[in-house]
Amino acid sequence: MEKHFTLEELLTVRLAHTFHNGEVGFTGLATGKAAATYITNIPLAAMQLARLTHAPDLTVLLAGWCVNPDLSALTRLPSSEYGNELLNLPCEAQMTTWPGPWSHRIGEIDFAFCSGVQVDPEGNVNCTCIGAHEKPKVALVGPIFLPEHLAVFGREYIMMPHHEKRCFTEKIDHISGVGFPGGRAGRKELGLTGSGPCKIFTPLCIFSFDEDGKLFVESIHPGVTAQDVIDNTGFALGDLSAVPETAAPSDEELALLRNNIDPNRILLG
């Protein structure tokens, strides 16, 4: 099937539709190409698209300190949260001390984005190690901010640049970010103030979580079959025959993305 949009554009537009006016969305600045596209670039483009359409009062909090950056001014992506390029990015506020490293715990952030190497059917995320924690086969970046992301932010989007069996596993090697262990009731007992994972975006599909906190396939992207999703997921997904196709972006949305939000093709390539 001939598509007139890219996978990144599809995910960006679907994501944008889930934001509400007046919310505060946070994203860090990830490094590494695939990770950066999914955790940083797509979320930034989606938040800006929401601001230009149904959510003009949505606030973009980039890297926890830069408020409503003018992304169209970018000529290249800052390489890290330490980068000099961020310093002169036009924006509304640069705040070092608030919400800073700590005040996000009072619930200032309505939604945020994270990633990891493994996700289980309860939405728990691992970004710490493959194998035993004491003697890992692969030591990864470590939990960093993931405990807070999935515990204290309003809701969390899990952005997975790879949809493979080894990434979606029945059991993960380290719970670095907590989803719904024991369902929504189980999560409640843990005393976490945020509502946890709400959706997972992958190159093949969008997952959501049902009222018990169990993951299900919400939609499958154009050109991808249900069997592709099943074959690349390491746990049972049930019958996917009634799952709808992920809705395509409109021409207006694509025009906004290409002409206004990302004119230099910095975010979505």
């Binding site: 000099n84 800073g100 515990a151 999560r187």
Partner: protein, 191 residues
């Protein structure tokens, strides 16, 4: 970012900082030094994250004077601000600076002095002292050197070779920098 809470406790002379969000997280499971307790006020499950208690902290900054007044450009971002928190949390603070200036120069912009002289045990003039990482408003990261480092990390032999040439094979930081090369370092200066 629990590590930040450790220095936050130090900054205020507390043995620990309380956090409430580790329920179900393996970070608490794997680390016996993170101690679960019941919050005396709310009755909620909480965890005590122990203070880091650093004896010595070494940070790199833009500029300072010989007394140890340390200036960092005012729009420090979050990661850089951890340096400042750490500098305020230790017994002995050593600061390396890009530029050593006269106190009169410091007094022209006292709002940039985030660490006053009485906090600083020692100040050392070390241009490019944060290489290969960047120093905000002074130097860029050295992406090429990151790549060298990552490639060297592929196996033990390659990493030993890296250590032999850049660390063990150099007498001091000046020699390390000359290995990186003056021409290349020039390209990392923030204009």
């Amino acid at each position: 970012m629990l590590a930040w809470d450790r220095f936050r406790a130090d900054r205020e002379g507390m043995p620990f900082w309380p956090v409430y969000f580790l329920g179900g997280n393996d970070v608490a499971r794997d680390n016996p030094q993170i101690v679960p307790f019941t919050c005396p006020v709310t009755g909620k499950q909480a965890w005590a994250v122990p203070a880091a208690k650093p004896d010595v902290i070494v940070i790199h900054a833009c500029r300072g004077d010989k007394y140890g007044n340390i200036q960092i450009q005012e729009r420090s971002m979050l990661p850089q601000y951890l340096n400042v928190d750490m500098a305020r949390s230790c017994k002995n603070l050593i600061v390396t600076v890009e530029e050593l200036v006269d106190t009169e120069e410091i007094k022209k912009s006292p709002h940039l002095t985030l660490i006053p002289a009485f906090r600083t045990a020692s100040v050392c003039h070390v241009p490019f002292g944060s290489h290969p990482t960047p120093t905000l408003s002074c130097t860029e990261e050295d992406a090429a050197h990151y790549e060298t480092y990552v490639n060297a990390s592929a196996n033990e032999e390659a990493f030993e070779a890296y250590l032999d040439s850049y660390i063990r094979g150099t007498k001091n930081f000046t020699e390390y920098l000359s290995l990186i090369g003056e021409t290349h370092l020039k390209t990392l200066e923030v204009r």
